[in-house]
Symmetry: C2
Subunit: 342 residues, 2 copies
């Protein structure tokens, strides 16, 4: 029972009972002083606070969660945190949650199949909500969440399913902006380079490019994929840029890939944007560095995280809301890797 320490010698864990005894009131009184909105006279409030302070009492969040209906724990199921983008999102989410007094429980999962496991673990800890930013959500798991009244927020992917809110960037529109900039800058042979079809956002970005170009009477001259883990596009970019009919622009699914393309172009002695223009997606901090000055589509990570948190609160207040798909607007940031538009 309890920790290894003898519980009377050093007062290992101070409980509500200790405070009650010290203040000469019942445990209910102490509880009421610590839960706001509960009634307690000024006198007892003062005595309880004094006793609690003297003893160093803090309510046990676990016990509180067991009986109450909130744990103030929100789980984030995420594929990797090493990725700049993901870690920025993690940070933004933690910040936004903190404003509501909620804490972040991390489930780092490797591979799509593990999403399920991560979500289950979140449910074991009675998380108030589950944010999934890796792969998709298995049907059985989302149904379990629904039954348990635990909101699911899926980020970066659309899944039309009861109880699953989807929040993601407006990838198609971002790609459209990029395409129009490139075409207006004189590019006609535009290629796409992204992660494979496993990356939902990337495929939307590719579709967006295709649609926008079609609107202008064009089509991508090439499409290539990059191993999402191992490289950031060196190999694929080399192939693309060494082809006999070299593209005059490459639109990339991700800034990291675009930076790889920049490096490859540099290595091949090609000038950017004169020989080949490059556009990325996400606007990670590195893209702005003087060495790169990458034109890219800004993905507002902070707004996304705040929207996620707002949606969580809304659903906790009103559990039966219909599922939504919310698109966060994206905005082109023109820097030095595309030609200047007059």
């Amino acid at each position: 029972m309890g920790r290894a320490l003898p519980q009377n010698s050093c007062m290992g864990r101070i409980t509500i009972r200790d405070v009650a005894k010290a203040a000469g009131v019942s445990t209910s009184a102490v509880s009421r002083v610590f839960t706001d909105g509960a009634s307690a006279s000024a006198a007892t409030r003062a005595r309880v606070n004094a006793a609690a302070k003297a003893l160093g009492y803090r309510p046990n969040a676990l016990a509180r969660a067991l009986v109450g209906e909130r744990t103030n724990l929100v789980a984030l199921v995420i594929g990797q945190a090493r990725n700049v983008f993901d870690s920025l999102f993690l940070e933004a989410l933690a910040d936004a949650l903190a404003k509501h007094g909620q804490n972040l429980l991390i489930s780092l999962v490797h591979g799509e199949s593990a999403v399920d496991e991560g979500m289950m673990s979140a449910l074991d800890y009675q998380a108030d909500a589950v944010v999934v930013a890796a792969g998709t959500v298995p049907l059985a798991t989302s149904e379990r969440c629904l039954r348990l009244g635990v909101p699911i927020i899926l980020c970066g992917r659309v899944l039309e399913r009861e109880g699953v809110d989807c929040i993601l960037g407006d990838n198609r529109d971002g790609a459209r902006q990029a395409a129009e900039l490139l075409v207006r800058g004189g590019c006609r042979r535009i290629a796409y380079l992204g992660r494979g079809p496993t990356a939902y956002s990337d495929s939307e970005r590719e579709d967006g490019l295709r649609e926008a170009l079609a609107h202008l009477g064009l089509a991508p001259v090439a499409t290539a994929t990059v191993d999402p883990d191992n490289d950031h596009g060196f190999a694929a970019a080399t192939t693309l840029l060494s082809a006999p009919q070299r593209p005059d622009a490459i639109f990339c699914g991700t800034d990291l890939i675009a930076l790889g393309v920049l490096e490859t172009a540099r290595a091949l002695g090609l000038r950017v944007p004169e020989d080949v223009a490059v556009v990325g997606f996400d606007n990670v901090p590195m893209s702005a560095w003087p060495s790169f000055r990458l034109t890219t589509v800004d993905f507002p990570i902070a707004t996304t995280a705040e929207t996620v948190v707002e949606r969580i609160q809304a659903r906790l207040a009103e559990p039966n809301l219909p599922a939504i798909v919310r698109r966060i607007p994206t905005r082109l940031v023109a820097r030095a890797t595309t030609r200047r538009i007059p």
Copy 2:
């Protein structure tokens, strides 16, 4: 009570009692089937498992934690996750913890003063251990942890205090390796550029450089600091590299800063390493990129995280271990920003 759903209609939350009833056994029996090392006959085990599966039962981790002596929750108090280094550590830690069935609770704190708050929140949730990777640990808080039997692991900083284990890279030795490489490469006018004195590791690295140079009869020709948040060394590097008596090498407290120096050198038309050699610290993935090929001191993040987790297990098994300071060895990785040694 419970979630918003009527608890009989859809069986919102399946408890141990439901399983017991379905299997025709007591709750104790169910509990024993789900805790390993407990005795249950093959027959009941089978019936309980069948019932649990049919009902979709999973034990409530919170209730379990309330009575048991482990929560399997480990808290990480961290300053920022946007930093590549920190996010790599976060990921490595989550992975290492997962191997022991432990989950990661994140407290993202802004500023040193908030470390206390983050740790307190961790204690509220009865975390089994607290890993601090931001600033230092207030005395009162470490004493509270000690009293509660919660191990503290402090990363990246030394704090000689009862119950606080410190795990950090061998910054001095890394700096020594860098200094020797530079000097053997012919550099004599070596400058240091790092974050201010608030960054403990950086100051150790600076000291290490100073000591190693002193050993060789040299001293740093300049020392400058960089705003740890806003830039990665452009301004400071520009000053340093435009000085009348330009240094022939810059040793940086961080890879990010070193990359900033590389960019600055490039912008000023200086050749690296011929005009100025550059060495970083940490060996973040970006340093290996073809555009940079930064010589740097490798900080083994995965090893650090594993050591942290090992130490947590050791302390949980044997709470009264004396505090340790463990140095993780660092290793120089020579790439293209220093002169080749014959």
